[in-house]
Symmetry: C2
Subunit: 391 residues, 2 copies
Amino acid sequence: MNMLNERDPFFPAQLESLYPAYEGERTFRFAEPPDHFFLESGVPLGPVTINYQTYGRLSSAGNNAIYIAHALTGGSLVGEPPRPEKERGWWEPLVGPGRAFDTDRYFVICSNLLGGCYGTTGPSSLDPKRGQHYGMNFPVVTIKDMVRAQKRLLDHLGVKELVAAAGGSMGGMQALEWAAMYPHMVGSAIAVACSGRFSPIGIAFNQAARRAIMSDPAWQKGRYYGRDFPHEGLSLARIIATITYRSNESFERRFGRALQRAAETHPFAFFEPFAVESYLDHQGEKLTRRFDPNTYLYLSKAMDLHDLGRGCTSFEGALRRIRSKVFLMGISSDILFYPREVRGLGVEMRRCGVDARYEELQSPHGHDAFLIEFQQMENYIRSCLDEVENQ
Amino acid sequence: MNMLNERDPFFPAQLESLYPAYEGERTFRFAEPPDHFFLESGVPLGPVTINYQTYGRLSSAGNNAIYIAHALTGGSLVGEPPRPEKERGWWEPLVGPGRAFDTDRYFVICSNLLGGCYGTTGPSSLDPKRGQHYGMNFPVVTIKDMVRAQKRLLDHLGVKELVAAAGGSMGGMQALEWAAMYPHMVGSAIAVACSGRFSPIGIAFNQAARRAIMSDPAWQKGRYYGRDFPHEGLSLARIIATITYRSNESFERRFGRALQRAAETHPFAFFEPFAVESYLDHQGEKLTRRFDPNTYLYLSKAMDLHDLGRGCTSFEGALRRIRSKVFLMGISSDILFYPREVRGLGVEMRRCGVDARYEELQSPHGHDAFLIEFQQMENYIRSCLDEVENQ
């Protein structure tokens, strides 16, 4: 089903190595024909493959599980890889025996989200009906769809209760949807640097990134599989996004106004880059070696559509459904999800009767601090889980 | 010299109407061969044409002049057009008889900046040596070069002293350079929403915009004159920039999360735009009807290179040269020039002995508030000029 596992010869060479087949890698497949997985839009999708990783053991009562949701370009490898690999999980310092998400106590699950390109069904997957890659024929998926697919996986694994649903950025959006959509199953949501509905400026930055991809002549309306890869478009999309993941303070500390090759040239050459430009070019280049452009389009669209209130009577109505504790964390220098926005969500939640707590991570690194400031994250997550266990 | 005035048949049709020949429009030409205008880089340029507008009358002592500098995509039309036109000047509510820049008292000059595409020599001009448009053969110009060219214009007009050099954004950068480069000629600098040296995050956003232009296959390394216009690239550059000129609060107020065609469709269509997306698409489209992409590259590069301290012993050394009053204004919601950055420049200036004052414009509209919040701007400018006159 998913060409990344199957080493589809038509998949761009750039992406072949992005998803090494870990021994511990597992997939769950559902909605086999004639069954379907109906999306929030009403569109049927199937079959659906979910790529996932687990850490620790599920208790016999099925009530010691924690679901961790990844962000836009992440994957299911959240902790240590099943066998020693160069690549570490994206929250590896937080997941493992004795760590904040203590796998001696908890059964931790992370899956590549619906629409992804790391083993879960998405636009780069083969559409069995057409016998070719979905591309832009893939239906729009939402954060709610992702969470519903994750629920199917957890049912399959025998999980009855979640001690916590956790994540940062787009992962935090999923954690909040878990609390709103499955109030009786979820003990807590730990949501870092995210919001209850995506902001218009966030939509705007995503629009610019998508337009960069779709402007690349190689994009070919999404039919680039087996042809030229829209390298420039995806690079530029990543550059735009990376600026919003950092902050001027972090760029000041790291690069300032230094030129990349200060001693060799004078600053008046048009193509003489500042160090910050070289850094961003490199970040753009890096993503093209590991990510599918159509997936970028669909997952950023899912972010744009993120709104806890859709399908409920109102946004407040969605908040009032929540029964679990909600632990919110804003990042002091975040320019994509302003800390005041995250704090404001906490205020709104408490007004709706939710047991919501807000804390602010102090960091100069901007939005990406949730992937950098592990000590502060660890302290917060430990205190959250203590609070859930001791209630 | 400049094809926009001369209706060069090779210039893209999009741009033909961008610069209607006002009756009051004037040009000044200097650095005629064998003379040259030597740029900060040491590269000679010439001849140089400066397109400018003036308002009011110069006193016989030549000491009642105010120079107003425009921002990235502006032109010399700052006040009322010489004859009734649809287009108004970009600071028209501030410039005129009895207005903040009172043309009954002051002789106001505004010129299209060096490197521009509205009548002043820039990359879209014909290079007389090669007999074709400069394109990427145009030399890198800096804010200091722009100010030095403006000084040549003012000498030509008989201006001996400037009561003020004023501007917002890139115009503010020029105002500050006026104070630092010609300390004995300038009575005050009124600089809104700008900095003493451009920030790394500002460079980063400009890099993304430039890359959008240069990624457009129609850009052709700058040789698009008379051929396909890099429409998509310039649109995307403008979209990226416009996001940074606004703020989430302004987008929230105006668009929120509304869809462009709310009633007609459901939100799950991939290409169904949010209202904020349609707005930005429109802004991108609009610029392509009035601006030259190579000019965008060069002027944004000049912003990146903006550093009052370059060529001085240090940044502090440049500030210590200033003899004039400096009136700084930050904008509360600006995400391109954070108000704390502008305020910080004021602190640094006072530490260097400069008579610097800081005020904050309160607005939800972000960076572009300097083109929107005319009442607050007027109050501030009036108080600044009063202070200069009454010293």
